[in-house]
C-alpha cells in the first residue's frame, strides 16, 4: 500500500459565525486526480485556501509528504511543491505571456529543481518559458506566447494559470475551476491536457462545477455541502449517493409536492 502524498484530517474553519469547513478529511495518493464538487458556497474554495495556506485552518491537520503544513505561509507550501491556480484569473497583465512564467521560475524551488542554470542571462529562461507554454497549447508559430497577457482570451488565461503552476515544477496542483467560463471546444481541449499532466506524474485536485468533464478525469471524488464532506468514492458511486442528489437537485419530497 502506497503512502498518501497528502492527507487532510478533521480540518475546521469558521468565518465569524459561519462554519465554512467542518471536520473535512480525505487522503490523496500520488498520481491521482481527486475531484472536489459541491453546490455554491459549500466550502470548496475555502478548502483549497486552507490546504494551500492562504487561510489558516482553525483546527485539524494537513499532512503533506509526512509534514504538517497547517500555519505555514503560502510561499513555503508552494516551495515544498504544492501549488494552486486561482478561480479569478489575474495574470501579470503588464507582462507578455511568457514573461509571466519567469516569476515562478525565479523562485527558489524552480531554481533548485528546474532544468536550467542559475543566473538566467542570455534568454535561457525565456526559452524554457516558451517551451512550457507551447506544451500547454500556446501556438508558438502564431506568436501567442509573446502576446501581452492583457490581450489574451479566457481560454488562454486559464492555461496561463496552469502554466504558471507548472513552471514551479510542482508535485501537486490544486485547480480551482479550470473549466468554468470556457467554451465547449476549449473545454474539450482542456481534458486531454489534464490527462497529460497526470501522465507526467503530477497529482491533481480539481475543484469543479462541470461534472461531466470532471468525471471523465477523476479517479475519486469528494462531495462537500455546507462545509462538510457528505460523500466520497469513485464518480459512479458518488452519483448514486442519495445525499449528493439531494444536495444538488433538492430532496425528492420537494419534487413530489410540485
Amino acid at each position: 500500500m502506497a503512502e498518501p502524498i497528502l492527507s487532510v484530517s478533521d480540518v475546521n474553519k469558521t468565518f465569524g459565525g459561519v462554519k465554512a469547513l467542518t471536520e473535512v478529511s480525505f487522503e490523496l495518493m500520488p498520481g491521482d486526480i481527486l475531484g472536489v464538487i459541491g453546490p455554491n458556497g459549500s466550502g470548496k474554495t475555502t478548502l483549497v485556501n486552507a490546504i494551500s495556506g492562504f487561510v489558516k485552518a482553525d483546527s485539524g491537520q494537513v499532512i503533506y509528504k509526512g509534514k504538517d503544513i497547517v500555519g505555514m505561509p503560502p510561499h513555503k507550501i508552494a516551495d515544498q511543491g504544492l501549488t494552486r491556480t486561482f478561480q479569478v484569473m489575474r495574470p501579470y497583465f503588464s507582462l507578455p505571456a511568457y514573461k509571466n512564467l519567469i516569476v515562478p521560475m525565479f523562485s527558489r524551488r524552480a531554481r533548485r529543481t528546474g532544468g536550467w542554470r542559475g543566473g538566467g542571462r542570455m534568454g535561457s529562461r525565456d526559452t524554457v518559458a516558451v517551451d512550457i507554454l507551447e506544451e500547454i497549447g500556446f501556438e508558438r508559430e502564431s506568436y501567442v506566447p509573446y502576446k501581452m497577457a492583457s490581450s489574451l482570451p479566457t481560454g488562454y488565461l486559464k492555461r496561463l494559470e496552469l502554466a504558471r503552476c507548472l513552471a514551479l515544477r510542482p508535485e501537486i496542483i490544486i485547480c480551482d475551476e479550470v473549466f468554468s467560463g470556457l467554451s465547449m471546444s476549449e473545454m474539450a481541449s482542456m481534458v486531454p491536457l489534464m490527462e497529460k499532466l497526470q501522465m507526467e506524474g503530477i497529482t491533481l485536485i480539481m475543484v469543479e462545477h462541470r461534472l461531466r468533464e470532471l468525471f471523465r478525469l477523476a479517479n475519486r471524488v469528494i462531495v462537500l455541502n455546507f462545509g462538510a464532506k457528505i460523500a466520497e468514492g469513485t464518480p459512479d458511486e458518488v452519483m448514486d449517493n442519495k445525499e449528493v442528489k439531494e444536495a444538488y437537485f433538492g430532496s425528492e419530497e420537494v419534487y413530489s409536492y410540485v
Binding site: A78, P91, L95, P104, R109, A167
Partner: protein
C-alpha cells in the same frame, strides 16, 4: 485609442524607423542607432551640461542640486508605485533619515564626507526599510497613509525627546569641497539610479516586482516570499531618498527637523503626475519643470501653492498620461485620419 470623429477616425501607427530599430538592423545604420540612443543621450548630455550652462548664476546652480534631490526621490516613488505596487508617501522620512544619519556620522564619529554620504545611503535605507517592514503587508492607500505618518512622527519624536540636537538640529557638518562637486555628484548619482532602475525592472528580479504589483497572490502561490521582495523594493527606493537627504544635509551643513517636511513627500508625486508614471525618466522631467516653477513663483508667497495646484490639475485633466508617455508616443508613432 482612436477617437470617433464624424465618419473618420485617427489612426496611430509605429514609425518605420521605430520598427526598424526594434530589429537587428539597428546596429547597421547610424540613423537607427541615433533614433534609439538620441533621447537617452539628450538626457545624459543635457543634465551633465546643465551646471556649465548655469555657470554664472549660483542661485540657479543651487536650484539644480535641489532638482536632483527631488528627482532621486521621484524616481524612487515611481519605482515603488508603478513597479512594486506600494504607493509610498514617505519621501520626507527618507530625506530626514539620510540627513540625520549622515550628520551623526560626520559630526559624532568624524567620518569624512566622501564616506558619510554612501554610508548614510545604505544605513539610512536599512533603517527606513526596518521602520516600514511591519507595514509591508498593507496595500494601496493604506500603505500610503501609514508611510505618510512616519515623517510626521519622526519630527515630533526628535522634538519631544530632545535627541539629535532637538529643534536646533545638528550643525557644523563638512560641506562639499566646491559647488561643482556638489552638482556633479548628484547628477551622476541621479543618472546611475535612473538607468540602473530602468535596467532592473526588465531583469528577472524586476519581473518579480512587477508580478507583486499585478497579483501578489499568484506570486505567493509561486513559492516567492513577497514580503522580502517588497522590502528589497523599499530598500532601493529609500536608499535613493537617503542619498538625497545626506547630500542635502552636507549642502546646508546642517540637519534638522525641517528635513522631515512634507514637501519631500508631495513634490515627487506631483512630478510623477506631470512627467508620467511608470516611465522612470518622466519623474525626472517632472522635477525639472516643477521645482524651477516653484522657485520662480517664490515672490508670490503663498499664492504659488495655487499656481502649483493649477498646473497639477491641468495635467491630471488634460494630459493624465504625463509628458514622458506623451512624448514617447509622438516620437515612436505618427497619426493620420482615415475614412471609415
Amino acid at each position: 485609442m482612436a477617437k470617433q470623429h464624424e465618419g473618420r477616425r485617427r489612426e496611430r501607427l509605429d514609425r518605420g524607423i521605430k520598427v526598424r530599430s526594434d530589429g537587428v538592423y539597428a546596429v547597421s545604420s547610424w540613423r537607427e542607432m541615433m533614433f534609439l540612443v538620441g533621447p537617452r543621450l539628450l538626457l545624459i548630455v543635457g543634465l551633465l551640461a546643465m551646471p556649465l550652462i548655469l555657470g554664472g548664476v549660483p542661485y540657479w546652480q543651487k536650484v539644480l542640486t535641489i532638482i536632483c534631490i527631488y528627482a532621486l526621490l521621484a524616481i524612487g516613488f515611481d519605482f515603488l508605485a508603478h513597479y512594486v505596487g506600494l504607493v509610498s508617501l514617505g519621501g520626507a522620512l527618507y530625506i530626514g533619515v539620510g540627513a540625520y544619519v549622515s550628520a551623526l556620522l560626520n559630526t559624532e564619529f568624524g567620518v569624512p564626507i566622501w564616506a558619510s554620504i554612501p554610508m548614510a545611503t545604505v544605513l539610512g535605507g536599512g533603517i527606513c526599510t526596518l521602520l516600514l517592514w511591519p507595514c509591508l503587508p498593507l496595500r494601496g492607500v493604506y500603505f500610503a497613509i501609514v508611510s505618510l505618518m512616519f515623517p510626521l512622527l519622526a519630527a515630533r519624536f526628535i522634538e519631544a525627546l530632545d535627541i539629535f540636537g532637538g529643534t536646533d538640529g545638528i550643525m557644523g557638518l563638512d560641506g562639499f569641497p566646491n559647488k561643482w562637486s556638489e552638482m556633479y555628484v548628484l547628477i551622476i548619482c541621479l543618472l546611475l539610479a535612473l538607468f540602473g532602475l530602468r535596467r532592473l525592472v526588465n531583469e528577472d528580479m524586476g519581473l518579480v516586482f512587477r508580478g507583486v504589483k499585478d497579483n501578489d497572490q499568484a506570486v505567493k502561490a509561486s513559492g516567492i516570499n513577497i514580503t522580502y521582495y517588497k522590502a528589497v523594493g523599499v530598500f532601493l527606493a529609500s536608499s535613493l531618498g537617503c542619498l538625497g537627504g545626506a547630500a542635502l544635509a552636507h549642502i546646508y551643513m546642517w540637519a534638522g527637523i525641517s528635513q522631515f517636511a512634507l514637501d519631500f513627500s508631495i513634490i515627487p508625486i506631483a512630478a510623477t503626475v506631470v512627467g508620467g508614471g511608470g516611465t522612470l525618466a518622466g519623474p525626472v522631467i517632472g522635477c525639472l519643470i516643477l521645482v524651477p516653477v516653484s522657485e520662480l513663483l517664490r515672490d508670490f508667497g503663498t499664492l504659488r501653492i495655487a499656481v502649483y495646484a493649477l498646473i497639477l490639475m491641468a495635467f491630471i485633466v488634460f494630459k493624465s498620461e504625463g509628458l514622458m508617455s506623451y512624448g514617447a508616443r509622438k516620437y515612436n508613432q505618427f497619426e493620420h485620419w482615415v475614412e471609415i
